[in-house]
Homo-oligomer: 421 residues x 2
């Protein structure tokens, strides 16, 4: 029986280190030439399998694959395409199996978050039922840090480091100017449901009075007056106030802060304003302080130039472990990060069944948030600090980081039927 | 005659490397104990002199002063306080001289941009006229890169590097997602009048079709339709479009792009929208593309974690040269950076009279902008590239950069009269 090829796909929002996982999957697969044939990557994730757009990574040199370790974004493209139950998405599942079978694919490595772990699990079950069993291994990833069981998720640590570094630096700036200029600075961070990234900025504060002075978590509805009082008190005590707000933060009436303002152009067209302008508007109106705000947006999840060394190592480790699990007969599992100790920080990889991970969302513990709701607790600090530890800089050329450029050679299609997404 | 003390003040918007200049001024002054007494730094810049709030830097250890090399923001505080002509600002000039005289200050090092060079020049002239001559040396600084004579300005290179790195990384992100998600990404950069920082992002493009695809310079009024056509064409050709826009960019009717939208809260209060939301709104309305935008704001000028090594070296060099010029009898001058060659990049410091620098604004040459107005030319690249070369990373502790914490001991006041600003 000829050995099977592997299919690898990136899924959901990309991160600064998802390519480190890709690097690990491909490099590790190359070490088992007797077990795994080629590694085909899905062009734009699982859509690549559905559309039969498979990138043959065997055409990429060892150097190029190695360079993925230090390249942000998703080298093969990604998508947010959720397969539902077999009944609802039967055509997609059948198509996946059909494509896998046509290309002699026996391994499916799916690099993503919750939804992807669910898909990997479903495919493992359904492929068996449909007579073409595929070894399905999930490779964890998400800046949202909300996969169950795993102590933390690859991608999160680097975004956390970037945001904590950024708020520390920006705070030095505003502290310099606040006497006669800007007194309030707001930075908006990603996190619609969970305040993990917002919490990470709290690491920048080392002593009482250090910024960020106020963190607004999506878990805690914001009391406008309490917030304004805190801003005013901080400006009076420290001379300035630095605020970090999650994009998903809400007021205590349940409405999204980002929806409280609209951006209107000269033709009257409207879009939702963001959290930062909304808070700044309110502060200006109620307290009169001059403000500035920053919206890093994609910068926070693509900042490979200041990635966390721990994050890079873990992103690589889960990719490597995924392949090792596959070639040693495991199926429907995900390599999870297990924290063995905080100080010194020690972690290991342990396989967990996809069934235990899929569709569970890990929430941030409420004892990570201080009593007044605006800061992080020492417990939270103890959890977060190791995840941003260490630097793993890319190589630079002419002042800019050198990223991988792939050839991206496509596998010849075997099927005649296109697939309508 | 007792040797004189020195007064050092930071002025205008701070940068990632203005403290490197401060470090150089203080460290170099410490090497001439026979010529210079103490270095007093103005608390919040020149306001510190007017208010007689002088920080005695002799209380700071060599280690702390050394750590300024890698600390962003303005360690002593800064302000935008412009002294006008002697007639208009007579009280301020008299007060400055009075404070300098009371504290035996004979050297004035003013670290700022155009307005500061003008102030330093005026003080050199007026102090002489008023019978208490002070050696006044300007120390160049500005992310706007618009001081005359000097080839470039300390602070600019690091902000340029940060923005070019950021756009390169964010572009990798959007390129991954564009098939089914975000197709347009806009990053707003500083630069009300000059497109130097916007131009720097053009360095991220190495081949045809590389992002950023469109740069909007404040020097070139934007033709809406031409812009929209270019966006559409780019999305069709490349799959996505990355745009960089200066905060000061205008439409071809002369209006600021940032003023074309207003942000309105639920109470009807209005603020100006920014350039990024304005352009995104327009693109959404006219072309229907999903967008994201980033507004780095203060992050771009405080990003010491990714400062340009050339910029750090030059910021230090001008501070050092300023003191050396002072102790060798020069006055009313500014150490300027002179470019000796592009490849290899060679530069030197040369003194220039403040009269030649003060109040002149260096504009970006129009041959730096491509014919279609949306990109940079090879000439521009040749100018910019050396300025972002090299990395000079801070030291890290627990995942975050270690910045200087100063004691900030104030000099005892000698004057009884407070000064109303």
């Amino acid at each position: 029986m000829t050995k099977k090829h592997a299919f690898y796909a990136q899924s959901g929002g990309v991160t600064a280190v998802i390519n480190a996982s890709a690097c690990a999957v491909i490099e590790t697969a190359r070490r088992y030439p007797d077990k795994i044939g080629k590694v085909y990557a899905g062009h734009n994730g699982i859509l690549g399998a559905l559309r039969e757009e498979l990138i043959d990574t065997s055409y990429e040199s060892d150097e190029t694959i190695g360079a993925l370790l230090r390249t942000p974004g998703g080298a093969f493209g990604s998508c947010r395409y959720k397969l539902k139950s077999f009944e609802e998405s039967e055509a997609e599942y059948r198509r996946l199996i059909e494509v896998f079978q046509a290309h002699n694919i026996g391994y499916f490595f799916y690099n993503g978050g919750n939804d992807s772990m669910d898909t990997a699990w479903k495919v493992s079950q359904l492929s068996e039922k449909m007579g073409y069993p595929i070894t399905c291994i999930g490779v964890p990833k998400t800046i949202d840090n909300d996969l169950a069981v795993t102590d933390n998720c690859p991608g999160f640590g680097s975004a956390a480091k970037y945001l904590a570094v950024s708020i520390k630096e920006a705070s030095h700036d505003i502290a310099s100017m606040c006497d006669t200029s800007t007194k309030v600075f707001v930075m908006e961070v990603m996190g619609r449901h969970a305040g993990w990234l917002a919490a990470a900025t709290g690491l920048a504060a080392r002593q009482d009075g250090d910024p960020p002075h106020i963190i607004i978590f999506p878990e805690l509805p914001l009391d406008r007056q309490k917030f304004l009082n805190k801003v005013d008190e901080t400006v009076n005590n420290e001379g300035y106030c630095v605020i970090v707000a999650s994009e998903g933060a809400k007021y205590d009436d349940g409405s999204f802060i980002s929806a409280s303002t609209t951006v209107i152009d000269s033709f009257g067209h409207q879009q939702l304003g963001g959290v930062a302008p909304a808070l700044c508007n309110m502060i200006k109106q109620e307290l009169g302080y001059k403000y500035h705000y920053a919206v890093p947006d994609y910068l926070q999840r693509s900042a490979r130039h200041i990635a966390s060394r721990v994050d890079v190592e873990q992103a690589y480790a889960v990719g490597k472990a995924a392949v090792e699990l596959a070639v040693t007969g495991h199926n429907a599992v995900m390599p999870a990060i297990i924290r063995e100790s905080d100080l010194p920080y020690r972690w290991a990889i342990k396989e967990v069944p996809l069934a235990k991970v899929a569709n569970f969302e890990r929430k941030m513990p409420l004892d990570f948030i201080s009593e007044d709701g605006f800061n992080i607790t020492p417990t939270c600090r103890g959890y977060l600090e190791p995840l941003i530890e260490g630097e793993e800089y890319p190589a630079y050329l002419n002042g800019l980081p050198r990223f991988a450029r792939l050839r991206k050679v496509f596998v010849e299609k075997q099927l005649n039927t296109p697939f309508e997404i």
